[in-house]
Every structure is written in structure tokens, then in C-alpha cells.
């Protein structure tokens, strides 16, 4: 065998070797995800039942459930979504469609990139001082929802900008040529066409928010909540004045969320509570992975429907 043939053969083996290495690392990474899901299922699936979903936390592991955590997560997400979506979409539209390229926009862009990387617990510290004490919101659903809204704001802004950027320039030019103002172009063309892209980003952002634990622990969300926030227009107990609850009284209520409930159970001694933690983890992971799957479906449908 000549030396050149040996070199060629060696290089071919090199390539094959790397193929194997790359593919196996990818598989290992995915296997870890699989192991995580299986381990949760093994420990927690037995605990998962209707009564687990519908019960309040308890000192006795077998009677404890995640009703208050599920409802708390839901209410917090409502506040987060209603704050972060309008604010983030508006900011994204401004940065992509209105702002000129000057130093101020450059500052805003660096700022958003930085905000996206600020550790979530730092948002919690800010919220603790600003929302809980300065604004006097206390450890309420409103404070928690606003905290997570600020946390996902950069994700919503970036998603909005990318969705707008993918709309070809000639759509805008055609609308301007018909005499539309800039706002009309945004309102009647750009926003409708970018809804799919924005929705994808918003869903991913919410899936991140639903799993966030640290900032809510920092603002003092409780770990043991055996009541539900007042449902709007439900009857108020007589000893509390009677009548009906107002539409927004739940905002002031104390709360816990799923990841905090899970964290609480993980840090307790005893296998029974660990099974509870695993069961809460299953619910949590189904929620986040489900939202991510939904985002992928929305994105794929949008890609199929819109061809510029």
C-alpha cells in the first residue's frame, strides 16, 4: 500500500470516527432526557390520581395534592401573559418598524440581550424590593405574575422582531403605496401576518415561566397553601362580609405554584414526599413539554400556510 493510500484510508476512518462520536453524544443527550422522564414516571406515576390533583398540600404525604399549586400556576400565568404579551409585542413592533438605527436603539438592543441573560433570581430580588415592599403588593399573585412577565419580556420582544423581520419588505411598500399610515400597516398587515411567529415565541416564553421557581421563592411565595384564590363573582363567606367576590380580588391572594410545591417536597425527608415530588414533576413536565410541542405545531402550520 502506498503512503498516499494509507493517508486517504486514515482520513476516511477519521470521518467515520467522528460520525460515531457526534451521533452517540447526541443520542446520549437525548437518553438523559429519556432517563429523566422515565425516572419521574417510575417514582411518581403511582401517586398521580384525581385526588392528588384535587387535594391541598398536607402534612401526610398520602393525602397531599397539588390543587392549590395548579390553580396558583394558572392565575400567575394569566397575569404574566396579560402583561408580557402586549408590552413585549409593542416593544418589538417599535424596535423593528419604527426606530431609526441610532445610538438609542443600539442601547435598547444591548439592553434586551443583557436582560435575556440576567439570572432569573435577580428578577426575583428586584421584585421583592419593588413589587412586594415599595408598591406594597405583598406576596400576591399580582406580584408573582408581574415578576415572571418581566422575566419573559425579552423572549417575547425577540420573537416579535423575528416574526416581523420574516415579512418581506414589498408587503409594507404595497400598503404604503395605497396611502396607509405606518400604524395601519402594522395593524392591518404586519401584526396579522406575524401572529403565528409571535404566538410560537409567546408559548415558549410561557412554558419557561411556568417552570420558573427561583424568582417566586425570592418574592416569598408560600410553600404551604391550603386554600384557593377567590374566584371572581363567587360568594364570599358570611364571616368575611358576605356578598360576592370582585372580579380582581384573586390578584391580592397569596399563592403557590407547581415548581415551588415540587421543590418543597424534594427538600423534605422521606420517600413518600419524594413520590409526591415526582408526581408534581410529571404534571410540570407534561405542561412544559406540551407547550413546547404546541409551539412546534404552530410554527410548522404557519410555515405551510404562508408562502411569500
Amino acid at each position: 500500500m502506498t503512503s498516499i493510500e494509507r493517508v486517504i484510508r486514515f482520513r476516511r476512518y477519521q470521518d467515520i470516527g467522528f460520525q460515531v462520536l457526534g451521533a452517540s453524544l447526541t443520542v446520549i443527550a437525548l437518553l438523559v432526557l429519556g432517563a429523566l422522564v422515565l425516572d419521574l414516571a417510575k417514582t411518581g406515576l403511582g401517586r398521580l390520581s384525581w385526588s392528588f390533583l384535587a387535594s391541598f398540600p398536607s402534612r401526610k404525604a398520602e393525602q397531599a395534592g397539588i390543587a392549590s399549586a395548579i390553580v396558583g400556576s394558572f392565575y400567575v400565568m394569566v397575569v404574566t401573559a396579560f402583561t408580557a404579551i402586549p408590552l413585549g409585542v409593542a416593544a418589538g413592533v417599535y424596535l423593528e418598524e419604527y426606530s431609526r438605527r441610532n445610538w438609542f436603539t443600539a442601547v435598547i438592543e444591548i439592553n434586551i440581550a443583557n436582560l435575556a441573560g440576567v439570572p432569573s433570581i435577580v428578577y426575583g430580588l428586584m421584585a421583592l424590593s419593588l413589587f412586594v415592599y415599595t408598591f406594597g403588593l405583598g406576596e400576591s399573585i399580582l406580584a408573582g405574575g408581574l415578576t415572571l412577565a418581566l422575566l419573559i419580556l425579552p423572549i417575547v420582544i425577540v420573537a416579535t422582531r423575528e416574526a416581523l423581520r420574516s415579512i418581506p419588505q414589498h408587503i409594507r411598500e404595497a400598503a404604503y403605496a395605497m396611502g396607509a399610515t405606518r400604524w395601519q400597516v402594522v395593524r392591518y398587515h404586519l401584526l396579522p401576518y406575524s401572529t403565528g411567529g409571535i404566538a410560537t415565541g409567546v408559548i415558549i416564553a410561557l412554558s419557561r415561566a411556568i417552570g420558573e421557581t427561583a424568582p417566586l421563592i425570592t418574592i416569598g411565595a408560600l410553600t404551604f397553601i391550603a386554600f384557593l384564590p377567590p374566584t371572581p363573582f363567587s360568594p364570599r363567606p358570611e364571616e368575611d362580609g358576605g356578598g360576592l367576590y370582585g372580579p380582581f380580588e384573586w390578584l391580592d391572594s397569596g399563592f403557590t405554584v407547581l415548581p415551588i410545591q415540587m421543590f418543597n417536597w424534594v427538600s423534605r425527608p422521606g420517600d413518600a414526599f419524594l413520590a409526591n415530588a415526582a408526581a408534581a414533576g410529571i404534571v410540570l413536565i407534561v405542561a412544559t413539554l406540551g407547550l413546547n410541542a404546541l409551539a412546534i405545531v404552530v410554527r410548522n402550520r404557519m410555515r405551510r400556510r404562508i408562502r411569500w
Binding site: 439592553n111 440576567v118 439570572p119
Partner: protein, 328 residues
């Protein structure tokens, strides 16, 4: 048939041209007002992101100023003990910084090599359809809530490690760091892969033409050409690791490292429990700390340290990413 109807319609505005012009003018005016107002509203929304940053900076500084007055910046940075709960509390940030450093190093030892190799494989070796399937699935690794990862590190990875190394304590930085590394893989691999795929085909063809094989082309041509994007991915991965909270709070323990001046390298051993800056903030928040006392202020001082550390990484990552986007 068609002609006259068009003509009739065209004639109509002429008959009522005066009121119509008024209406048109008022509509134009209203549109202009709405347009201006919306520009203002949207601009305010964009400026709110600046307000958030200013709010964070202002609060971290103003809440930790009394702490630094009481403790002293020099003590904070050079004291080697962090014992806020002791009768004579000591506030040296170094043990917490060491905890953060060790868990971050373990995580990066997993995430940077694995993320880079996966990125090279996806970008240069894997068929396009496989890549488009694998990438979103891999990104799910970053979507799993971190408290679930904490559970996984404490109750799956650590027991596994204890089989290899029976002396390993239940709470240890090794298991937490490894799991954190897995979580960070997609942050590194996705952005690196984007950067490598942005490298023009011409460069690869040049390398193939002079006899390069795929792996040589990937590592000596594509990888260097995409370096600023890959560096951005690394830097953002580091920033994630430094700021990660729940995994370390659950699995690495909440006791600060005890530094022994005689054997400073002992602190670098990941096979021991160690609190990070983030874990410390969590453990204080779970406890019963009153607004305004020094323990409350200490978490803001710790948060400020964390913010400053990640700020540098985040801005560097942004600038590097911008460079790789403009390169070709």
C-alpha cells in the same frame, strides 16, 4: 353593460365633492393623530425594557449600600468565610463565588465539548432532515423546568455516581454540575450550529478541493470561520451556568464551602456540598428574614455580585453574535 356602471360610479364623487373632501381631510387628520399616538405608545413599551434594567441596577445597589456600609467592601471581597447565621456573622463572598465557580466548571466541562461536537455533527455531517428533527428535540433539554433537573440530579445522578464513588455525599456539586451541563448543551449546540451553517459553502469546497476530509474541513476551516458565533454560544452558556439556581439549590446543598487557607485547592473538589451565590439567595428567601435587616441586605449584595458577573458575559455574547451575523 360594465362600462356605464363604472362611469356612474366615477361620476358620483364629483357631485358631492365638497363634503367628501371635508370627510377625507378629517379622516386623514384622525389617522395622523392615531399614527402619532401609537408611535408614542409603542416607543414607551420599548423604553420599558430600559426601565427594567435601571430598576434592577437601582434596587440592587440601593438595597446593598447599607450592607456594604456595615460590612465593608474589602471584607466582602476578601474575607474567606460566609456565615451570616452565626453569632459573629462573617460576610466574605469568596466561598459562595467558589461554589459558583466549581459547579460552573463542572457544567462547562460537559456542555462545551459535547455541545461543540454535537453542533459540528449536526451542521457538517448529519443529513438535513435528521438535523431538522434532532435540533428541536435537543432544545427540549433546555425547556425542562430546572427544579425537575434538581430532582433528577439529587435522586438519579447522585445515586448513580455513588455507585462509582461510595464516599460521595448526598448533596454534592458534581451531580448538580453534570446535570446543569446537560441542560446547557442545547444553548451551546444550537447557536454554534447556526454560526457554522452561516459559513459559505465556498470555504468548504476549497478545503475539499485540496484534499481535506469532512472532519478536517469542519475543525480547521468551518469552526475557525464561525468562531465569533461559537464564542457567543460559549459565553451565553457560561452566563446560564453562573445564574442557574434550582439545580444547585436542590442537589448541591445550601452550606457555603469552608475554605482552608492551608489547602486552598480543597475547595475546588466538586465531590463535596457547596452553596453557590444563587443557592444562598434561595436559602435566605425560604427562611424568616425581615425586610431591612442585614440578612435581607446580604442577598441583594449577593445578587449584585451575580448581576455584575453575568452582565459582562451577556454583553460580550451579544457583541460576538452580532459580529458573526455580519461576517458574511
Amino acid at each position: 353593460m360594465v362600462q356605464p356602471r363604472d362611469a356612474a360610479q366615477a361620476a358620483k364623487p364629483v357631485e358631492r365633492s365638497v363634503p367628501r373632501a371635508d370627510a377625507a381631510a378629517s379622516m386623514r387628520f384622525r389617522r395622523a393623530v392615531v399614527d402619532r399616538a401609537m408611535q408614542g405608545v409603542l416607543g414607551l413599551a420599548a423604553a420599558s425594557s430600559i426601565a427594567v434594567t435601571l430598576g434592577i441596577v437601582y434596587i440592587l445597589i440601593s438595597e446593598s449600600v447599607p450592607f456594604f456600609r456595615a460590612v465593608g467592601l474589602k471584607t466582602f471581597l476578601t474575607d474567606t468565610m460566609w456565615t451570616p447565621q452565626f453569632a459573629v456573622p462573617r460576610y466574605g463572598i469568596v466561598p459562595l463565588l467558589m461554589g459558583t465557580l466549581v459547579t460552573t466548571m463542572v457544567a462547562l466541562a460537559v456542555a462545551l465539548p459535547a455541545g461543540s461536537i454535537i453542533a459540528i455533527w449536526l451542521s457538517e455531517f448529519a443529513p438535513a432532515r435528521l438535523r431538522e428533527t434532532v435540533k428541536p428535540v435537543l432544545e427540549l433539554l433546555a425547556a425542562v423546568p430546572t427544579v425537575v433537573y434538581g430532582y433528577f440530579a439529587l435522586l438519579f445522578v447522585t445515586p448513580l455516581l455513588q455507585r462509582l464513588w461510595p464516599d460521595l455525599p448526598t448533596f454534592n456539586m458534581l451531580g448538580a454540575g453534570l446535570v446543569m451541563g446537560i441542560m446547557i448543551i442545547p444553548y451551546v449546540s444550537s447557536l454554534s450550529e447556526d454560526a457554522m451553517r452561516a459559513v459559505p459553502m465556498l470555504l468548504r469546497e476549497g478545503s475539499f478541493a485540496v484534499g481535506g476530509n469532512k472532519i478536517v474541513t469542519a475543525t480547521r476551516v468551518v469552526f475557525p470561520a464561525a468562531l465569533s458565533g461559537i464564542a457567543a454560544a460559549y459565553v451565553l452558556g457560561i452566563s446560564r451556568a453562573v445564574g442557574e439556581t434550582m439545580i444547585v439549590a436542590v442537589a448541591a446543598g445550601q452550606q457555603p464551602l469552608i475554605l482552608d487557607p492551608a489547602r486552598p485547592l480543597d475547595a475546588m473538589n466538586p465531590g463535596q456540598p457547596g452553596a453557590t451565590i444563587t443557592a444562598f439567595i434561595v436559602s435566605v428567601s425560604l427562611g424568616d428574614v425581615q425586610h431591612g435587616e442585614i440578612g435581607y441586605q446580604a442577598i441583594f449584595a449577593a445578587g449584585l455580585t451575580l448581576f455584575v458577573a453575568t452582565l459582562g458575559f451577556n454583553v460580550a455574547g451579544y457583541l460576538l453574535r452580532k459580529r458573526f451575523r455580519q461576517a458574511y
